[in-house]
């Protein structure tokens, strides 16, 4: 895209290249590196599915943390939730390794530049 004529970076400090990369990456709904190569359809599908699972995991973890702060979880629920999230995280790691996917391959950001969560 061509840049705007006027400069609107009012203040910038630090790794702006990294920030530009991050914003660019999260600006699209789908992971940038999604693989649609017919020979690697399986991997592309895995990437899609795992991205959604990862998104849901993050969402649910956030909800759980909110409930924790509000004090509306019993000790038993807390323990069970924690175990579930732990197991899910481990399983995700295994699947990522199996399909040679990295964290950045699974970053689905919905809507406005990562604002949804």
């Amino acid at each position: 895209m061509k840049p705007r004529e006027d400069e609107r970076l009012l203040y910038g400090a630090g790794d702006l290249d990294g920030l530009a990369e991050e914003l660019d990456r999260v600006g699209t709904a789908f992971p940038r590196r999604i693989n649609a190569d017919p020979e690697h359809v399986e991997r592309g599908l895995a990437q899609l599915v795992l991205t959604l699972v990862e998104l849901l995991r993050q969402l649910m973890e956030r909800q759980a943390l909110r409930r924790m702060e509000q004090g509306t979880l019993t000790d038993e629920e807390l323990e069970r939730l924690g175990e579930t999230f732990q197991k899910l995280e481990q399983r995700m790691e295994e699947l990522k390794r199996e399909f040679e996917l990295e964290d950045r391959d699974l970053n689905l950001n919905l809507g406005p530049l990562g604002d949804l969560l």
Binding site: R4, G18, E22, E79, G82, E83, E89, D103, G114, L117
Partner: protein, 225 residues
Amino acid sequence: MLYLYALSEHPAAVPPVLGLDDTPVAVERLDAVDALIGVVERERVEPSEAAILAHARVVDAVTAANDAVLPARFGRGYSDLDALRTAITARSAELDAALARVRGCLELGLRVMAPRNGTRGRDGSGSGSGSGSDYMRARLEERRQAERVADEVHAPLAELARAASRSVGATPELLLSAAYLVPRNAVEDFRARLAELGDDHPDLTLACTGPWPPYSFATTEAAPR
């Protein structure tokens, strides 16, 4: 098709700028609210570079020429004036409130990136060991720590703004995404304060963009999170 660029307090000054498809900007006056529109010969508007920049250009010019402006989102059209009038009248109370809120103000956006470190323990340290409760408590502490750091930057800036919205940890990299509704004459003070906060946090990447027309505060739903 009537393409909507922005709503402005009546009576709106119409800037001599060209918009979508190089068409001029027109105004439709509706009681307390005026609509800045363009007559376009199309059924569809793709979010192309040219179209997005055209939309932004018009909204910028309208904002420069008027004191209370609500930017419209890209790609909204109306079949005729009646449709436009009906849509605005249906929300007139809310729009009046939104116009009052943004009057005299511009938007400043802030992104803060924290340095990447293996706090999630995904490298294997800690994960798998410990109980579920321990895991949850560690996650909660992580989240609280992120909010503490984010608020060290956000809180002083929000004090300089009429309204602010913030989002912490939207991605593992983005510590803070925020928008501030700042009176025009306070923008420089805001920038100066941000520079101080930047000096206080040399480890953080800060990018403040703007001033923008108040896109993020165009409706009363855009309340602080």
